[in-house]
């Protein structure tokens, strides 16, 4: 991963952290006002689609971008979030917000457990282990009748949630808030002691350990945090779609996009996954409505090939001198 990641910037001041939250908040409000002005219900759903990938890419970046551990199991973590929401809905009749909180806890614990079992593996061995996790989880869900098994599960969502004009607007705003939080967490990690430790691990794990970096502990924190945020990315999905089956929840597109988006935007930076997610998800959404959703992975594949060949450090790397 180190060849495709960017030089780490210097630590910013607390004032710059505050400016992120204020700037992101202002951008979020502007986006909501713009979509209200357009007044098309589809805009909320298209926006949600893009933002869920912003959350997913930012989450993947914490372990894959900063620490260099490539997680191929993003779909598994995301589906864990989705099915946690379904279980809470089926068992207790809870809505999307409790579902998100539950998903963060369950997927975070899954990340922690996965980390304990797999983080002694490195490189491609770790990646294969995470891919296997996704397959195991899908097999469990397919055979679990309580969550609908292979038939899938339905959720009857409210028509509207005051003060929002429609449920589409509500679910968009929920995902927008999650995206701001997820990117903010990624940014905070990048400029913290944790982030520096993860960057040291990515560059040279043995040397990091030799200079006093507690590598296993940091990687476990990263898998937990990354897993929790991936689960959060998937938690609102049943309420967004109204229906979820294992084929959709564990879709290969999530795993591929989670990796491709940070790589194309600039892995190992907080902004790279945002750029990659907005670019790729918008292209895929445009292809879905103009041609066919069958083209989505084809687009991602071509973009990945082009960027790996011409801009191996992603869009941000292309703009930075070194």
């Amino acid at each position: 991963m180190s060849a495709t990641t960017l030089p780490a910037p210097a630590m910013p001041t607390a004032r710059l952290h505050l400016s992120y939250w204020l700037g992101a908040g202002a951008l979020a409000v502007a986006l909501i006002l713009l979509l209200r002005l357009i007044g098309n219900e589809y805009g909320w759903y298209a926006g949600y689609f893009v933002l869920q990938y912003v959350v997913l890419a930012a989450a993947w970046n914490i372990l894959g971008g900063y620490a260099g551990y490539v997680n191929f199991g993003a779909a598994g973590f995301m589906a864990t979030g989705s099915y946690t929401t379904i279980v809470l809905y089926e068992a207790l009749g809870l809505g999307v917000i409790p579902g998100i909180l539950g998903a963060a806890v369950v997927a975070g614990l899954l990340g922690l457990g996965t980390g304990y079992l797999t983080l002694r593996l490195r490189g491609v061995y770790f990646s294969i282990a995470t891919l296997s996790l996704s397959v195991v989880l899908q097999t469990i869900v397919v055979n679990w009748d309580y969550v609908g098994g292979s038939r899938g599960a339905y959720i009857i969502r409210p028509m509207e949630v005051p003060p929002f004009a429609s449920y589409g607007e509500y679910i968009f705003v929920v995902m927008l808030v999650l995206a701001v939080i997820a990117v903010g967490i990624g940014r905070t990690v990048e400029f913290s002691r944790l982030g520096r430790g993860l960057q040291a691990i990515r560059d040279n794990e043995r040397a990091a350990e030799a200079v006093g970096v507690p590598t296993l502990r940091l990687k476990l924190i990263a898998t937990t945090l990354s897993g929790a945020l991936m689960g959060v990315a998937g938690a609102p999905l049943p309420f967004y779609a109204g229906y979820l089956n294992p084929e959709g929840a564990f879709n290969l597109a999530y795993a591929v996009n989670a990796i491709a988006m940070p790589l194309i935007g600039g892995a190992g930076t907080w902004l790279g996954p945002v750029i990659g997610a907005v670019l790729l998800a918008t292209l895929q959404q445009a292809a879905t409505v103009t041609i066919s959703s069958a083209l989505n992975l084809w687009i991602v594949g071509w973009m990945l090939v082009i960027f790996v060949a011409l801009f191996p450090r992603g869009i941000l790397g292309w703009f930075r001198r070194r």
Partner: protein
């Protein structure tokens, strides 16, 4: 500079499958001592220091640093106890600037509040302060070696293991590294130097030990050790 016993290794052994890499190694190192460790390729020098640093787990024996048992401790815990090492090939954090490379150990050693100031002090000690904002790939080989030393100095080590820190350097560059190691030693840090450059190791070391085929065959003053027939035969290739 030498004081009480800092490092004690007792009957240390290490096997890789059926191959015995180290057997019954005993070693005592005094605080502030300068020890040279030599031996032919494959004699177990690096395996031994990897057992001390925690990169390898020894199969037999035990190691203590300042009276504290190191067995079972991970390398980062040993580093915090004051055990620093450099590698045969420089291993910088490639995406971090020179300054950030040195800040990393400080961030995890309870010195986060003044990490930048301390890192600059360490860089000044190795004469790299002017290149603090460079990336490691922009440094020459000897500068990368000095960066490794700066990172080690940041740990305020009681013991530095310099594993072939001068490999591939010119005569003048070897002198630069030797001068740095002497300064570090003068400040109280014991140094174990593993080196193939005989001029460097004999100039620097107060004591020399020799490994052959995973065993320690000599231990003493450099001139006396190098004059031993078994050392000449095994290491220097003389009859």
């Amino acid at each position: 500079m030498s004081g009480g016993i800092l490092l004690r290794a007792e009957r240390v052994g290490k096997r890789f499958g059926g191959f015995v890499a180290l057997q019954d190694i005993d070693l005592e190192l005094r605080a502030g001592e300068r020890l040279g460790l030599i031996g032919p390729n494959g004699s177990g020098k690096s395996t031994f220091v990897n057992c001390i640093s925690g990169d390898f787990a020894a199969h037999d024996g035990q190691v203590t640093l300042g009276g504290q048992k190191l067995d079972g401790l991970k390398p980062h815990r040993r580093a915090r106890l004051g055990l620093a090492r450099t590698f045969q090939l420089p291993q910088p954090f490639t995406s971090l600037t020179v300054l950030e490379n040195v800040r990393v150990p400080l961030l995890f050693a309870g010195e986060a509040a003044n990490a930048t100031r301390r890192a600059m002090e360490c860089l000044e000690q190795v004469e790299l302060a002017a290149k603090a904002d460079k990336l490691p790939r922009e440094l020459t080989q000897v500068e990368q070696r000095r960066l490794e030393l700066a990172r080690a100095i940041a740990l305020r080590p009681q013991l530095l293991i310099a594993d072939e820190a001068m490999a591939g350097l010119s005569h003048a560059e070897v002198d630069q590294i030797l001068a740095l190691l002497r300064r570090l030693n003068a400040a109280g840090t014991a140094v174990i130097m593993i080196e193939h450059i005989m001029r460097a190791v004999t100039e620097f070391s107060e004591r020399l030990i020799v490994f052959v085929a995973g065993r320690k065959i000599a231990d003493g003053a450099p001139r006396e050790v190098l004059a031993l027939p078994e050392v000449e035969g095994a290491y220097l290739g003389r009859q």
